[in-house]
Symmetry: C2
Subunit: 253 residues, 2 copies
DNA sequence: CGCCACGTTGAATTCTCTCAACACTAGTGG
DNA sequence: CCACTAGTGTTGAGAGAATTCAACGTGGCG
């Protein structure tokens, strides 16, 4: 089950892009490739000692923090090619990171990480890159939740996922969400019902089509438009009309 | 204006705690201490090339990201002893970081940083520590905004600031906020009016006393209580429901 | 002294949540 | 093979929290 790094479709995303074959060999000798994680299982849990970073090879993950009250907050979703584990960089993890579907990861153990940073040029800066992009992802999530309406959050979320698929060579307009509605809602700071309603609205307006977790983006331009806060002022009205239509329909039935 | 690191009140916070005098000397030779930043001036702006990390010596800062629409989101406040600049770790900054009051920073230039990480034991792990705490701070900010009511956010924010003062040897019950109401509101994802109203409420209930930007915490126990979502009866109920929803969420994970 | 940024307060509106019921799907066991 | 259940998702109606809009204080500073 161990796939070598140079054969991996993700090299260039999870690795510095300009490594020699010799360097990749050194690298491979220091990491554990092809570690399988079953759906629902955690790579690491909050409080656990930091033992290394992980690169997602396939499948996807969510990172969750918990409050003392027992409620949880999803702080990020992780897709193939992404590096995770920075939350524990100083000794122990603050998050619990769980597989949303059966997944494959490569582990870079703590000491190997140090060795690689010092001996393979580019690794150190690559790690920095990943740290920075992690920080940036958190920042934009903050912006999203703090300033945007529920619709904007949903649209931005879909666009974000779409972009990440695109970046990895998959279709950006047809893809499948690996997480349930409740997880999306939690991540975006809203009720699951609101996610449902807004998905329905986007369908009504023929911007996106949903089929369970399948997503098909029809009108990407309008998506971008809405992500920027130029939402449809009539959206509410449309919603009201639809509700009325449904009521009439129910009455007939 | 250049204060040596071993005389600095913050060593042990911004530095690894167990350095020898010799090591501190090496360190000092590689960083710029005592750089003054005037109120309102930026240490770095979004898009600017990364040239190093900064340690806050005195004063305070806000980090801001901007959307294409021109609205801004404050993603963090920085107090003395804190390290900042990770958002640009991979080449250019995503944030603009501005002084809220006249401040003093030490700069660790990019190449010195690398040198120090490789030659002074503890620096590398200290940087990791700082990265991790940066990540954690963003995570808890996310939790705060995504799941908490406006009152809980305000209370948590005040407690957070209080804790940071305490950590640095200042009073945790009497301190001064360096940012205007609008900045607090922006950071917490609410309207400035809401901040005002909730401050007023906390005064009415004799939990905190405000005088312009001066803060005097009267009833710390009640603060902690409210930070955890045990506000008034209604807030309590809402929280309980949400906790339950999240528990369900956790169960399916 | 008057200006301007900052802060407070009120009233109405609106968005999102909560509560509650129902629909759909997949997996289980009779 | 089909009922049954649990998990997941959808929809409706009402309630409530927070926003918006607007007017009004207040303090620092030229």
């Amino acid at each position: 089950m161990s796939l070598s790094c140079d054969a991996c479709a993700l090299s260039g995303i999870c690795l510095p892009s300009n490594l020699s074959v010799a360097e990749i060999t050194v690298l491979e000798a220091n990491i554990h490739t092809g570690v399988k994680i079953n759906k629902g299982d955690a790579i690491y849990t909050a409080g656990e000692r930091f033992t290394g970073l992980y690169a997602v090879k396939s499948g996807s993950f969510k990172s969750v923090i918990a409050t003392s009250q027992g409620d949880e907050q999803i702080v990020g979703f992780h897709m193939p090619g992404e590096l995770l584990g920075f939350d524990g960089f100083d000794s122990s993890h603050a998050n619990t990171t769980v597989a949303l579907e059966t997944a494959m990861v490569c582990k870079v153990p703590e000491d190997s990480l140090e060795f690689l940073c010092n001996n393979v040029k580019g690794v150190s800066t690559h790690v920095h890159k990943m740290v920075a992009s992690d920080v940036r992802a958190h920042n934009s999530a903050l912006l999203l939740i703090a300033q945007k309406t529920a619709e904007e959050r949903i649209v931005c979320f879909l666009k974000n996922v779409s972009d990440r698929f695109k970046k990895r060579g998959f279709s950006g307009s047809d893809f499948s969400l690996s997480m349930p509605r409740g997880d999306i809602a939690n991540f975006l700071g809203m009720a699951p019902e609101t996610v449902s309603r807004l998905f329905a609205r986007l369908e009504d307006e023929e911007i996106v089509r949903f089929n369970r977790r399948e997503v098909h983006i029809i009108n990407e331009a309008e998506m971008s438009n809405r992500a920027c806060g130029h939402g449809n002022a009539l959206a509410n009205k449309a919603q009201a009309n639809r509700a009325q239509a449904n009521k009439a329909l129910a009455a007939n039935a």
